[in-house]
Assembly symmetry: C2
Homo-oligomer: 399 residues x 2
């Protein structure tokens, strides 16, 4: 065989997901895309905000010399300085030190930032703990760098379950990975939950004589509803890194731009080691500071995001419709996912039933949480309204 | 320690290079950038061709719906179809099958494409053979995926030494990596050399009962001098992949866009396995089809490149100047590097001597080829002319 054993196993796992999406594609081809209700993938359908196109047009028209040159491995210093300013304004409270360019590493999306973090932290066999359910790529990101993802039981309503994480920590634990607002549940962790996690990690780090890194995956930070803000991890634990991107809040997932931010309160020697290592990883993984032009554009858009109320109206419509139909679910506070209970214990069987109603969803097993299914409301309101009778019929058929 | 043992070792190795470049930066700050002759880094200084800015402006003005959305893991099909057309026109001779979108995977630069190839091929401990000297990142790209880079003796004048490669092949060999036009020597491999390599790989693959992949790193393909074209690898060996980018030929290294092209003559089952695996790797490494906007732009620029005669004039100026001063070197046929013999056996000591003349160069040891040094002529003609007396003095000082 040409490809490696490791990749053959991975690609075989992917084949299942591909088959699922391929069936959806075939269904759309056969019935017309408007007659298929696709809630299976988190591909933002809300266009980028108008300010984005203005900024892009301006940067392109200026055509400044060296615009497309190699960047420093961390990305343009002037862009990182703008991001640092924004982080001071939005996450600076409770920190002893201000963010600066030396805390920011630009990379290819939040996925790139997470790969950097794990490349930097993991020797073969080292462990990363994350609560269930979790974004299906986490296991791959950790495995890319010879690590092992260990999952921990969530709390009720998928709240952060600190004791379950604490008990999973071993001498091989190098990082704990959390995600808030959370994919697939939409949960936002409270400051109190983060403080408890910080205390547990501090205790475990002291016990094992080596810091455990808290990695906060935050691509949905700006997608919070009801005027909520997402509590940052940094005031609660010095050894923390946040990964984010412009994929969801500016609807630019194809542009592959994001960054890793290091806690400015991390002890300086470790911060410098980590920053250098993230830079090395950024170079040798081929991201090399992330795409150049788009950095100049987003530099001017630090406070900007898509109209979150669009997603919030969809959430309300979907939550109300599904609850009326008899589904059991927790109301998400952010991101654009719902994670209802599957009426059948076998969530894949229920997802197949939904498909009979021309509804595409993702089974909970993909998130290591069987008995649930994920709906992504990257679909317009009429599509949501038109899908509701099908959801009701599918549930009734399981009774 | 926070970071991994593996990364600490890597970052320590990097510190030497960083120190070297840091000294250069300090020298420029102290003496003025115009008084330092920097031939140390391959950062193209020739601006992108005018057609690039026109195409970029057009794509941005059109602002087509979904322009910045998630792409398929291989990149936009329409872009891959344009590339396939270009490959048919420029590399199609001698192939039984035409290129199509199913042979192209868009990624983040040629570095991304090489990472994809190794991610796809390597189980822990598997080997990749490359001739010396070689681009310093090759070892890192292979090591990223738990493989081991094995170097092979070059031929006279750094020509392809097929027997040296053949003898290095073991049951653990999964790939042979070549680079033409070559960094750091500027050598272009002939069709005859490639045919000999193809025959050797065919024989070894048959002997070990498993295909060895030929990976051709070709970011300098369009930078060939004297009207030369670079012979493609594909007619000579079915199990071949080419990695390339728009970094050098369109001067867009910061935009992180390139692709991997699979030989259309590869047996179909293996082609399909490899394509699927490259797609999986592209997703889980976070490249996800490469930056979206820039793909639309380069789709229209398949035959376009910077004015190669600019680089050719610099080559001539530098070769003539250095030879007149008494340096021994092979005339490069492509890329933008010179690799002269170091007058001192210790190339690092000679690079330090050049620094006294305000000339920045890279020592051969960085390319696993001590006794030489690399000069990159990404610097204007006046800078080259003004540096020549310093080169002469440094050589004289070693006599």
């Amino acid at each position: 065989m040409l490809i490696s054993k490791k990749m053959a196993a991975l690609a075989a796992g992917d084949a299942t997901i591909r088959r699922m999406f391929e069936e959806g594609r075939q269904m759309k081809a056969a019935l017309g895309a408007e007659n298929v209700f696709d809630f299976s993938i988190g591909n933002p359908d809300v266009p980028p905000p108008p300010a984005f196109h203005e900024a892009l047009t301006k940067v392109v028209a200026e055509n400044s010399p060296g615009l497309h040159n190699y960047l420093p491995n961390s990305g343009w210093p002037v862009v990182r300085a703008k991001i640092a300013e924004y982080l001071i304004a939005t996450m600076g409270d409770g920190l002893a030190n201000p963010f600066g360019p030396e805390h920011i590493v630009m990379t290819c999306g939040a996925g790139g930032a997470l790969n950097l973090a794990f490349k930097t932290l993991l020797d073969p066999g080292d462990e990363v703990i994350t609560p269930r359910p979790y974004f299906m790529e986490y296991g791959n990101y950790v495995d890319n760098h010879s690590g092992r993802l260990v999952s921990a039981e969530p709390g009720p309503d998928f709240r952060l379950n600190v004791p379950a994480i604490a008990v999973a920590i071993t001498p091989a634990t190098r990082a704990v990975l959390i995600n808030s607002p959370h994919n697939p549940t939409g949960v936002i962790y409270t400051a109190e939950e983060l403080a408890a996690l910080g205390a547990a990690l501090k205790e475990a780090s002291a016990r094992f004589g080596r810091p455990i890194l808290l990695v906060a995956d935050e691509p949905y930070r700006k997608l919070a509803y009801g005027g909520r803000t997402v509590p940052p991890v940094f005031p609660h634990y010095a050894y923390a890194v946040a990964a984010t991107s412009y994929s969801k809040d500016l609807s630019l997932p194809g542009e592959r731009l994001g960054y890793a931010a290091i806690n400015p309160d991390m002890p300086e020697a470790d911060r410098a080691d980590l920053f250098d290592a993230l830079n090395t990883a950024n170079r040798i993984l081929g991201y090399v500071g992330g795409p150049a032009l788009m950095q100049r554009v987003v530099a001017e858009l630090q406070g900007v995001s898509v109209d979150v109320s669009l997603y919030e109206r969809r959430r309300d419509l979907m939550v109300e419709g599904l609850r009326s139909a008899g589904y059991t679910l927790t109301v998400p506070d952010g991101a654009f996912y719902l994670f209802p209970q599957s009426p059948l214990a076998d969530d894949q069987a229920f997802v197949a039933k939904l498909k009979e109603e021309r509804i595409l969803a993702a089974p909970g097993v993909l998130f290591e949480q069987p008995g649930y299914f994920r709906l992504c409301y990257c679909a317009d309101e009429s599509s949501i309204k038109n899908a509701l009778p099908g959801f009701a019929r599918a549930l009734a058929a399981c009774a």
